[in-house]
């Protein structure tokens, strides 16, 4: 037991002088600095009393102060506080520990900021995606509507053409049916005498070249359509009288009020 404490006391006695020496060195330096400070302070007081403050612009003041500080920092060279290693060690350890804790704080703070920013980024990205989808949908709708508009102009023309064609077909079919029906039910009277006695007698009276009912109707309609100021067709012997009588009686044709040989197509609405 006894050797250990004695060794410790030896070591303590050894370190004490170095501690004391280090402290003395530091105190000397402090005294030096304090002397410098006093000198500077006196200079400042002198300068203050000389140049009475003229309340110049604050910004100008600030500018002067910052530039002079900058010059000072540029001139200054870094120097060690003291050359004694113990002092340096102790001071360095303390400084590094403090720096360590401060940097940890900074790290956690910036980490938290980063997380917050990432959240914001994600939210903004989803928002942007939604807006893009909406934009796409609207664009599609616009193009569809535009196409429909163009097509409608074109299609009106096509519709008209189609309608015209249909009407033409219908017209031609009607004409065909009309001519078939007329040919079937209203044939020219047969000169050989297959029909009734009345017809035979009439046929003998007329000339051979009778025109068919379809021919009569055609002449009537052409006269009405082409020369509508004079729609009258003169009936002559080529018109078979029973047919003209039939047309007249059924209201398809009417006589000219003054001339009984003229007929025209009745107005139809």
């Amino acid at each position: 037991m006894t050797p250990a404490p004695s060794k410790q006391t030896e070591m303590d006695q050894d370190s004490q002088p170095s501690e004391v020496a280090a402290k003395a060195v530091l105190l000397e330096e402090c005294e030096e600095q304090f002397g410098l400070l006093q000198k500077l302070q006196n200079e400042i007081i002198l300068a203050d009393t000389e140049a009475n403050d003229d309340q110049s612009n604050e910004a100008v003041n600030r500018l002067i102060a910052v530039t002079s500080e900058l010059e000072q920092w540029q001139e200054m060279e870094p120097k060690l506080l003291t050359t004694s290693p113990d002092v340096l060690l102790a001071v360095g350890k303390e400084e590094l520990q403090r720096l360590n804790s401060q940097l940890k704080m900074v790290l956690s703070c910036s980490q938290a900021k980063l997380d917050a920013q990432e959240k914001i980024l994600k939210r903004e990205q989803t928002w942007q995606a939604e807006k893009k989808e909406a934009l796409n949908a609207v664009c599609e709708k616009i193009t569809r509507l535009q196409r429909e508009n163009e097509k409608s102009e074109h299609s009106v023309l096509q519709d008209m053409k189609r309608k015209i064609n249909n009407l033409k077909d219908y017209h031609s079919s009607l004409m065909e049916m009309l001519s078939d029906m007329l040919a079937e039910h209203f044939p020219l009277p047969d000169p050989q005498g297959n029909g009734t006695k009345k017809k035979r007698a009439a046929a003998y009276d007329a000339e051979i070249n009778l025109i068919s009912l379809s021919e009569i109707i055609e002449r009537l309609t052409n006269k009405t359509l082409e020369t509508s100021h004079d729609p009258y067709v003169t009936t002559d012997d080529t018109f078979w009288p029973p047919y003209t009588e039939m047309l007249l009686r059924n209201g398809i044709a009417t006589r000219h009020p003054e001339d009984c040989n003229k007929i025209r197509l009745e107005n139809f609405f």
Binding site: L37, I44, R62, A65, E69
Partner: protein, 183 residues
Amino acid sequence: MALLTPYSKVPELNTATVLLVENEEELQSKLANAIVQYEKDFNVNVRLARKLPLPVENKETRPRIDLIVFIVNLLSERSLQSVESSLAHLHSDCFLGKVCFLVTDARCGSHTQERLVSVRKLAASHQCPVLCAEHRTAEGVNAAAVRLLNILKVTAGMSPIATTALYLSSLTRCSVTSDLDED
């Protein structure tokens, strides 16, 4: 007119002095207690005042003041007015980093928002920082005390890495954003 000058006295060893100027004297004492409690490494002198100019009688015994904090209570109009009148008694060199504005009750209504804007404009014109503090709870007072201590350390020259008061004030000065930037 006796102006409060920043560098007319020699600083004391290992001490820093902060002057709290408040018209209502609500937060001053609480903040002073909190500041003194928190700082163990060096001595802190806290001096309280209602407004500037400081009484002439104490001029010789008063130490050099490192930081002047103007406490503005946004709920009363007079607070801001007294601060504005006190600013006239300050030497213009003081604004190079030795002045700070502390604002309380910044969340309590619509009038406070307008006054906050005017305080910020005032601070921005002198390029000083603005701190917001909550004085009703102990934690708010402690938080404000810690922040003030940080600034005090720099202005008293206790910050070892080359941070000067001027530099810090340039970093932390209040900037007034235009109306378009406010959200």
